[in-house]
Amino acid sequence: MSGIIMPQPDSTILARAAQIVAALREVLPEDTVISDGNETRAYECDALTAYRCPPLAVVLPRSTAEVAAAMRVCSDMGVPVVPRGAGTSLAGGALPTADCVVIGTARLRDVLEIDTDNRFMRVQTGVTNLSVSEVLAPHGFFYAPDPSSQLACTIAGNIAMNSGGAHCLKYGVTTNNLMGATVVLTSGEIVEFGGPQAGAAGLDLLGLLCGSEGQLGIVTEAVLRILPRPEGARPVLIGFDSAEVAGECVARIIRSGVLPVAIEYMDEPCLRAVENFAKAGYPDCPAVLIVEVEGSPDEIAVQIAHIREIADALNPVEFRESRNADDALAIWKGRKSAFGAMGRLGDYICLDGTVPVGQLPHTLRRIGELSKEHGLEVANVFHAGDGNMHPLILFNANEPGQLERAEAFGADILRLCVEVGGCLTGEHGVGIEKRDLMTAQYDPDDLAIQMEVKDVFDPAWLLNPAKVFPLESSARYRQRAAE
């Protein structure tokens, strides 16, 4: 077992397991409650697979009312609840505990309303991110946040983690594209935050909810802002012989007044892995940028001419334009297969710190040095336009001690991100993974006020209780809640 510790399960809850399951069955349809050990095992982890623990039971409701009924039972019986979307969290956000009930959104899959006149849609939150954009396509609209797990991840999880994606440089992240939410509170009460009208006059509880990692409530329905699809999009690929120059190019593009939809960065170890895996035909150089712009063919040409002028002044190794859709696909091919390519090299931990864009070159250099100190390889592939880095630390899970070393290396990188003015996580969330690093970014009072906010929504600390806040910091609140 590795570094991150979860509290001991509450033995009094485990002793009441049969009663808890019976109480859930009493208020929910027969097939909604899963308690068989073989079946609950499917929910023992999310994408942070090093940590596993089957829950006491899993509930898969079909409606907000059923979520509320399940929540009320758990609340009445004092049972922790772990909300779960598709289980794609890289931070352990959906990791169960032995004494918890998982409430999953897997069956909340209806698209309830598409309103292009008012530019919103209403969905049940178990729909996948990709399916939302697919259902919008015939209307000429799309939903902007596009995390790389979009094939599997749900809107519920996107809201919980305030997910981003490659295109958020232009369109923002989930919180900028979420207009309303139907929320089940721990009491089982159902409330609406926001709605199809633009904003609300009172406190921005919707903004507070978004990214709260299942600490405040379970979102069962969401009103999403939808956007007309651009006429077209085209990437260019720019190769540089140093990370510094690539970083400078990013800053100059941003300053110039052209706002690309995406600026992606890949370093040499990543490029090598991608080339072996996907044969994308990327140039052999230390740093590659993929810059995507949108618009009509003429508009795209104008923007690319701008970007070429900026890049040319920095002597790129290569500036590759896409003349057609196939070229565009080829440019994206390597980037999109980067995580798969890295996976072939062995096990990896994917980090998610953000740094100010101007600190990218320095941060990359320091990560290189740390890599030597820890004796583990690291590759970088990330959203450069907003400084959201994804260092991938390679290790061998079968070799004892390597996971711990990789985690220690990761923690050093994240502390570095904070030191240079950035943060621990740009889009993956804290979960359990970065829980104990929170003190690197926030002072005790900064964490205390956040925990007091959780206390307002979840006075018994039943929702995802041992996550986000360092165990030591939250102990007082959790103990008081238990009394």
Partner: protein
């Protein structure tokens, strides 16, 4: 109550913290003043707390699209600084001095505290969407931080969004980090004259469903206005396409300078200066037509922004009638209208909001009653 103080004016965050600690101890209510432009706080019974001295830009990095400034920094100072680098605050904070009769100079902290968002909200989002992080002092005087200075940050609970638009009732802002954006190199406006709100809303829905990135959609005095922005060839192209789409006849086009002028006025609701009550009403755009019709029945005038999602109503309508017609109506200028300025909320929302306020401000000293709770 023995303390008799006319006005508190901390020079920095540390002094502010001391003042708040003492005021919390004495349960002495405070009325927070930034630039002093918002007269709607005048009715709050509290000692004025002037935070305009906590001022000055901390850092501005155009290549990172990031500005960090102390809360009392005057908006015009920030706008000039950004302008020199070809950037701006994309959320176009309105200057409501003309409407509210306030003097003073608007501050960045005031804009954030009010979540003040202009016409471009339909395109680039509200003020709160441009906020990266902040420092603030809570009721008991704790100096607190949330968020940061980077574009993407999901570390811990997002109190930045919660504080934005909380009108100083959760804490006194001392420093804000905001995202700046390159401002458009070119802009133009299309004007559709001699139409009513219903037709205007039809034009808005149609235009906002195009990929032409319409960045303003407002209606005033029988004219619907659409703004487009971008690189010069982009604006030319978009204008052409929109003209074709709507059938070019009778559409007035405005150049860049006229566009700036027009939208500044629309942003500041300059057309509704005066003394009558002024209401800001949030609706689903397609509901606007029916609501506007009923507002006209009450007498007074109406203008639209945000593609119909924002209705400004300036007129003599009673608060109770207004709230019946439009539940999300906020009274921006009282004009003698008594009662709550903010719209009523669902009981659960009210309960959560009040409980949150108790955590941030246990003694209830920060702008008490400003948000009617």
């Amino acid at each position: 109550m023995t303390t008799i103080i006319d006005q508190l004016a901390p020079a920095d965050e540390a002094e502010l913290s001391e003042i708040l600690t003492a005021a919390s101890g004495d349960r002495q209510p405070l009325r927070i003043l930034g630039g002093g432009t918002r007269t709607e706080t005048a009715h709050i019974a509290g000692t004025p707390l002037d935070v305009s001295a906590i001022s000055g830009v901390v850092t501005y990095e155009p290549g990172e699209m990031t500005l960090i400034a102390r809360a009392g920094t005057p908006l015009p100072e920030i706008e000039a600084m950004l302008e020199a680098e070809g950037q701006s605050l994309a959320f176009e904070p309105p200057d409501l001095r003309g409407v509210l009769g306030g003097r003073g100079i608007p501050t960045i902290g005031g804009a954030i505290a009010a979540n003040a968002s202009g016409p471009r909200r339909i395109r680039t989002g509200a003020c709160r969407d441009h906020l990266l992080g902040l420092r603030f002092v809570d009721g008991p005087g704790r100096i607190l931080r949330n968020g940061g200075r980077v574009m993407k940050n999901v570390t811990g609970l997002d109190l930045s969004r919660l504080l934005c638009g909380s009108h100083g009732t959760l804490g006194v802002l001392t420093e804000v980090a905001i995202k700046t954006l390159p401002h458009a190199q070119a802009r133009a406006t299309l004007g559709f004259h001699g139409i009513d709100e219903l037709r205007a809303l039809g034009i808005f829905s149609k235009a906002l469903a195009t990929p032409y990135e319409v960045s303003g959609a407002a209606f005033l005095d029988g004219t619907a206005w659409l703004r487009i922005e971008g690189l010069p060839p982009q604006v030319e192209y978009r204008q052409q396409r929109l003209l074709e789409m709507f059938g070019a006849h009778d559409i007035q086009t405005l150049d860049g300078a006229a566009t700036r002028e027009l939208w500044r006025g629309l942003r500041d609701v300059a057309h509704f200066a005066g003394d009558l009550p002024l209401w800001r009403i949030l609706v689903k755009p397609t509901d606007a037509a029916a609501i506007v019709a009923r507002l006209h029945d009450l007498g007074g005038q109406v203008s639209l922004d945000w593609g119909g999602g924002l209705i400004w109503y300036c007129g003599p309508g009673e608060a109770s009638s207004l709230r019946q017609i439009a539940p999300h109506a906020t009274l921006v200028r009282r004009g003698g209208v008594p009662g709550p300025a903010f719209p009523p909320e669902a009981p659960a929302i009210t309960r959560l909001s009040q409980e949150l306020r108790r955590r941030f401000d246990p003694a209830g000293i920060l702008n008490p009653g400003l948000m009617d709770s």
